[in-house]
Amino acid sequence: MENLRELYQQVILDHNKNPRNFRKMEDPDGFAHGNNPLCGDQIDVYIKIKDGIVDDVSFDGAGCAICTSSASMMTTALKGKTEAEADALFNSFHHALTEDAAYPDDVPLGKLEVLKGVKDYPVRVKCATLAWHTFDAAMKKLNDEVSTE
């Protein structure tokens, strides 16, 4: 089980136990519902945009540790980013978890680096990216359900 420390790093376990920005938002500008049909992870992502900048982002729902901690870290990483920066970070993060090659326009992942270990567990990649896909859908002001399929 010790070999799982790479996947379940302390930071991840901490975010899972105490997720940041874990709340429903009143009057969000963007909202989307994310669902991973494989395991039943469900999260809602709420965003507020002010002058083209992510002013506030929060989430609620139920998911595994990878899903919950990734969502939590995502909210802290996105606050204060422009829409373009947020989009670039999403692309970079997604690339880091799914591709071997370095991302061409490498955007530093910062604290999100701890989630890179998920890449070695292909079935868990969807857990880590669910919040991001949901955020992406919310940004597009979709009110539909988004799926990682």
Binding site: M1, N3, L4, L7, Y8, L13, N16, L38, C39, G40, D41, Q42, A62, G63, C64, A65, I66, C67, T68, Y121, R124, C127
Partner: protein
Amino acid sequence: MTNSAQYDIASIRKDFPILERKIWDKPLVYLDNGASTQRPVQVISAVQDLYENHYANVHRGVHTLSQESTNLYNDARAKVRSFINAACVHEIIFTRGTTESINLVAQSYARPRLKAGDEILITHMEHHSNIVPWQIVCEQTGAALKVVPITDEGEVDQEQFRNMISEKTALLGVTHVSNSLGSVNPVKQMIQAAHEYGVPVLVDGAQSIPHMPVNVRDLDADFYAFSGHKIYGPTGIGVLYGKEKLLNAMPPYQGGGDMILSVSFEGTTYNQLPYKFEAGTPNIAGAIGLGAAIDYVEKIGLGAIAAHEHGLLMYATSKLQEIDGLRIIGRAEQKAGLISFVLDAVHPHDIGTMLDAEGVAVRAGHHCAQPVMERFGVPATARASFAMYNTYQEIDVLAEAIKKTISMFS
């Protein structure tokens, strides 16, 4: 804990080559038998022997190989008949699995008969494969789907069941054993009650067939469906048992070769049972592998297997309920060998990954039974499901791995 002298677990385990596997350098502890069991060498060899020595298409040629394949294929059907004590071999329809068997009944039996106002009755603990085919046929016909509730223990509420069955009921679909809770339903009594209203009953036997002797005539089931891969046979092969009278009155499910007697552009005469429902080249190797699996199970004896698995269930239940923060979902009085559980501090998906690191394979998720998850207010569960080759020592490994998981997440 000791096994009975007659039950030679060591020699059974030797028959399953995959049990030698190491997972992350740990011995495999395979507890995902509810999803699919492993194959004994006898099944693997039967399939290999077919392909190496006897294979050709069935019911087609006069040549030797076609004859040999046809004989082996027919033998497999005869084995299934005797295994579930059907009256005749042509009541055994080979399908792709339980799911296709249920869809066949929904489309060929129910669809032509259903009209608006009719009801299909199922229970709250059904697998999606015994829900969705009925939803589809209800949508096609205007019939309504009614769901018998389950109790907090995870048993079908028999009083509600008796209140809900009526002249309006066109068919009852009920699982023999719940795949997510382990509950064994009193299907014989339920069938009796349904028959008082002239209601035919389809029993989903996917989870019962590997764990207990099934006698379709004693149950008086009208339809009984199961899958080969859950009883140590190949994937892609399953069985629909149906009473001859019902099957004869049903139109074909799919059209194609083998299901016809003669074809012209003016019209087609359908073949007799069971071929009427087996369009196209069948899963020949799958059926023969299933026959070998049945031979194997009968050699060990389903009574002995059931007793062994019951012992494992009792032992695992006592071991697991000692663990702080662990809750068993499904406390039916009659249970088959599986335990669904949740941990206060750890999501089932994480449990699955953590246990895998200890070599323990369990299922994590909603088990294709989302209404059950909702009923018990959990997004998912972890499920350990037992088979004839599991040991008490493996239960100890499971319990230790769960404890390690909890301590890592606390």
